[in-house]
């Protein structure tokens, strides 16, 4: 479904991605794990088009999208819930969700999906007409994910969805992510909480200073001694 081939990205003169090659198959949950500054967020931002690679190619459903502008990638089925939530704080919860469905025109489908989001995150329904900036951190995270889902994506990219959430909410959140995946959405997940991420993923990539250091079956990586030592705090 998604393929990155030797993607290099620069911030000014700094080479942030040093030739990343990875793929995501339809129906999978794939995790990117690694320390701060390893290039996880940069990888997601490059896939959604906010950053343009200096070299390398990005293919989506066998189509070269390396230079497709970001807003068109949303229309192709790629949704990105960015790092730090980035909800529109001055807009209401409802308006945030509407923007998630910006490119869709099926009124009924949109209504149905908003109700589906409310069934996933009942708390959002109570806050419907409140400015999103007044939500708690956890609620904002739900809104960010719900907003990305409103695009009805084939590929959903989540950047640090558990950041700043209470442990009980994290469990709940990961159940929802598995749920979304079971309903047919492919997921590319970036997480600090590597253990959690690996436990719901089929495959994973370990990034280190802009390169793929290891890749493979998520369960195997979870048992790998190096990974354990470096990222799972064992």
């Amino acid at each position: 479904m998604l393929r990155l081939e030797n993607v290099e990205v620069y911030y000014g003169v700094i080479r942030a991605l040093k030739g990343i090659t990875l793929k995501v198959e339809k129906g999978e949950i794939v995790s990117l794990i690694g320390a701060n500054g390893a290039g996880k967020t940069t990888t997601l931002r490059t896939i959604s088009g906010l950053l343009t690679p200096k070299s390398g190619k990005i293919y989506y459903n066998d189509q070269d999208i390396t230079y497709v502008p970001p807003y068109k990638r949303v229309g192709m089925g790629i949704a990105h819930s960015p790092e730090g939530r980035e909800i529109f704080t001055t807009l209401t919860v409802y308006e945030n969700l509407v923007l998630g469905s910006y490119l869709r025109n099926d009124r009924e489908g949109i209504e149905k999906d908003i109700n589906w989001i409310f069934s996933l995150f009942p708390r959002l329904k109570e806050r419907l007409s409140k400015p999103a900036g007044t939500l708690s951190g956890g609620e904002q995270q739900m809104l960010a994910i719900g907003r990305a889902l409103m695009a009805k994506p084939q590929l959903l990219m989540l950047d640090e969805p558990s950041l700043g959430l209470a442990p009980i909410l994290v469990e709940e959140l990961f159940e929802v992510i598995e749920d979304i995946n079971k309903q047919g959405t492919t997921i590319l997940l970036v997480e600090q909480n590597a253990n959690m991420a690996l436990s719901i993923s089929q495959r994973a990539y370990v990034l280190e200073t802009g390169s793929v250091k290891m890749e493979g079956d998520a369960k195997e990586l979870q048992e790998n001694e190096d990974v354990k030592k470096a990222y799972l705090g064992a």
């Binding site: 906010l50 970001p70 807003y71 068109k72 990105h80 980035e86 704080t89 001055t90 807009l91 923007l99």
Partner: protein
Amino acid sequence: MFSLPYVLQQFINAIILGSIYALVAIGLSMVYGILRLINFAHGDILMIGAYTGLFLLTLYKAPFAIVLIVPMLVGGLIGVIVERVAYRPLRKAPEVALLITSLAVSMFIENLAIMVLSPRPRRFRIPSFLSKSHFYGAINFRNIDILIVILTVVLVVVLTLFVKKTKIGIAMRATAESINTSYLMGINVNNIIMLTFAIGSLLAGVAGMMFASKYGRIEPFMGFLPGLKAFVASVIGGIGSLPGAVMGGYLLGFAEIFFVGFLPPQLSGYRDGFVFLLLIIVLLIRPSGIFGQAEKREV
């Protein structure tokens, strides 16, 4: 002391002037909200609107409805062209580069106007049914004044509904909050920016017509001072905020008229200086304006 009719007359004058400032301030404020650009060329759109109106009136003897609508459209079109040619190539440049470019665009338009239209001021005469005055004792106002106020209210209400209720309006507010996140929603940000310039310039175009109708005289530099004052108005209201721009426009209208009307006449020559003094005071006391929010910048 001042008589009641005199005070009322000052109120009326203030509302008329405030309406024009409000219309010009909206465009400045909306553009600033998205691009963090103080568009110095905005006042020149006002001038273009006024000249367009003049030619329609004198050369084509066009009906006044057309004289109102066409300058709006021309203003909007020029605004879009300026954005496309001068500002869009600088999308990734530092904000100060945009600011300097807008100064250059302003000088370019003004000097082009001098070359093409001559620097000589021209009389701007509106049809007689619009210059007809109503007298109520010592109070008087003209039909054009009523038109200015009503048209401003209608435009502000329509624009507010558009920005509040429509999907594109929501997208405009989203883009003002974060361009990158708006991209992730599938919003074509360039189109939204273009639309913002179109709307703002449209209002500046019609404000130019109002300005010309009110003062009866136009010249190539006529947009400079109203442009600066609209900037002051949008800062007072909280730059980036639509209700703030409207409120700021009217507040400035009142401040300026009252300054001239109620202080000793020797001071009235300082009315423009007073406006900028007001700006300094507002910036000292409440830098983010009445409706403004503390700046949240993307890093």
